[in-house]
């Protein structure tokens, strides 16, 4: 759905790259098992990161070679389901559903028709996921409603908007053990903050064209284009969020995914931030969004 949290691929070792792909396939399978048709449409790198982060065993998860629609002739290595994987799959379904629900009002007829169809397709999976995680579904709805109210205010605070979203990601730490919970919460808070602000900066031109409210535009008084001053300020605070997330990450015990996660936090997120702020993200996105799916 967002896809801003991803590794810098060139810096991954082959073994790490394979781990990442196996988790990606594992999450896709978990989504399908949990009743989502068109799983690959709603799957995104952000949730793969979350699943790897929330995995808390010392040994790498079991894998199996599986066949799927995206790779008919060649079996792929996929992680077998582990608790964090099903949690992230549910989270992904719930968040996607409410995001679609929220944007309906702002859209034109054809786009809203497309989203309505998509929601109808997702409805069953959403009901199941919401039944499995009732607290979480209610929280997502409240946070997105609060966010909508905030965004309607005159000159809303960018941090206050990001805070609503960041708390949703931070809530994923709840199930973690006592020692892991605090660092995880801080880490997830800053990752959520990063996603919200980068997404707003990325949508800036589109939102301006469609006359939608945009938190970054409101913060710096922009009309569709980032000014140098806004870019500099955003880059400073976003990279600092990455640093705080990484500092929190270092307080967790290391596990089988530590190198991949370090790559994402220290290299991937700063890279994304710079690409979005300099305007080169969208151009490369098509190519990038396929990079972990196609090649073997």
């Amino acid at each position: 759905m967002f896809g801003y949290i991803r590794p810098m691929r060139g810096e991954l070792k082959v073994r790490e790259y394979e781990q990442y792909k196996a988790c990606y396939c594992g999450l896709c399978r978990a989504l399908k098992e949990q009743g989502t048709p068109l799983a690959s449409f709603i799957l995104s790198y952000d949730f793969v990161f979350l699943a790897m982060l929330l995995y808390d065993a010392q040994e790498a998860p079991a894998t199996a070679h599986v066949r799927c629609g995206a790779s008919l002739f060649r079996r792929r290595k996929a992680c077998l389901k582990f608790p964090a994987l099903s949690l992230c799959a549910d989270y992904c379904i719930i968040l996607t559903w409410w995001k679609l629900h929220d944007t309906l009002a702002d859209e034109g007829f054809f786009r809203s028709l497309r989203d309505r169809l998509f929601m109808a397709v997702l409805a069953r999976a959403y009901r199941k996921a919401a039944a499995r995680r009732p607290g979480y579904a209610a929280r997502v709805r409240e946070a997105l409603e609060a966010l909508e109210r905030l965004e309607r205010e005159e000159r809303p605070s960018l941090d206050a908007c990001a805070d609503q979203f960041a708390r949703l990601t931070a809530a994923l730490a709840e199930g973690a053990g006592e020692t892991r919970r605090r660092p995880l919460e801080q880490l997830l808070y800053h990752v959520g903050r990063f996603i919200y602000i980068v997404d707003a900066a990325d949508d800036l031109p589109e939102d301006y064209k469609a006359r939608r409210r945009n938190a970054v535009a409101e913060r710096f008084g922009l009309s569709g284009v980032l000014t140098d001053k806004a870019r500099e300020s955003l880059e400073t605070t976003l990279l600092h969020s990455c640093r705080l997330a990484a500092a929190a990450f270092e307080l967790l015990d290391s596990g089988p995914f530590t190198p991949v996660l370090q790559n994402i936090l220290y290299l991937g997120m700063p890279q994304t931030c710079r690409a979005v702020l300099s305007g080169t993200w969208r151009r490369d996105e098509k190519r990038k969004s396929k990079e972990f799916e196609l090649d073997e």
Binding site: L158, A160, A162, Y189, T237, A247, L267
Partner: protein
């Protein structure tokens, strides 16, 4: 206590040099400077303590079980806490609340104040920073500096954002990633720039 070798992430057969290297790397990672004003600083301190103890234990064992080996670096919290000079009793209360980790109280106290001077902006920035509201924190710190440019405490708060200073295992691998690659050109950089320029001119 845990096995001191696993705390440092080295094998029991590692040489003294390897152990020192691993120890220094960990000290760099959990240094209090990286966790300044961070709500998790107590956890980092705890890690630091474990690492120092593990290092001391190994060194003691290797030197034949003699008395305490005083080799571990004592990295006490540098400049932590908000004990700074404060203009009024009200600000002193805010600083005490921040130090005690009671961020909502500190914010509440600041919101009702009418005297919004440089110190007010600095403390508000600190409250925002602890909450993770970095955009507002930076704005408040910058306002504080512009109102009182001579104050080192305020300037340090702004520069913390710009240089980060935190540990990064990939440091140096990506020169383009560091915050400033042109501000501190060394003779070496200038040479490599000239070589690059030379290569480019060859193309034309």
């Amino acid at each position: 206590m845990n096995d001191p070798y696993s705390v440092l992430g080295v094998s029991p057969t590692a040489s003294d040099e390897e152990i020192k290297k691993a120890y220094r790397e960990l000290v760099r990672k959990y240094h209090p400077d990286n966790y300044q004003d961070n709500p998790l600083s107590d956890l980092a301190q705890e890690k630091m303590k474990q690492i120092n103890e593990a290092y001391d234990t190994i060194m003691r064992q290797r030197s034949g079980g003699g008395g305490s080996y005083g080799g571990s670096e004592s990295a006490g919290a540098s400049g932590g806490g908000y004990s700074g000079y404060s203009g009024s009793a009200e600000f002193a209360r805010v600083r005490a609340a921040i130090n005690a980790g009671n961020i909502p109280l500190a914010e509440e106290l600041l919101r009702v104040m009418t005297n919004r001077n440089a110190e007010w902006h600095f403390l508000m920035g600190s409250v925002m920073y602890r909450k993770g509201w970095l955009d507002e924190a930076l704005s408040h710190f910058q306002t504080a500096v512009s109102m009182d440019p001579a104050n080192p405490e305020y300037r340090q708060a702004v520069s913390r954002f710009q240089q980060g200073g935190a540990y990064n295992p990939y440091q140096g691998a990506y020169p383009g990633q560091s915050a400033c690659c042109c501000d501190n050109l060394t003779a070496c950089d200038i040479c490599s720039l000239l070589i690059c320029a030379d290569c480019c001119f060859d193309c034309f």
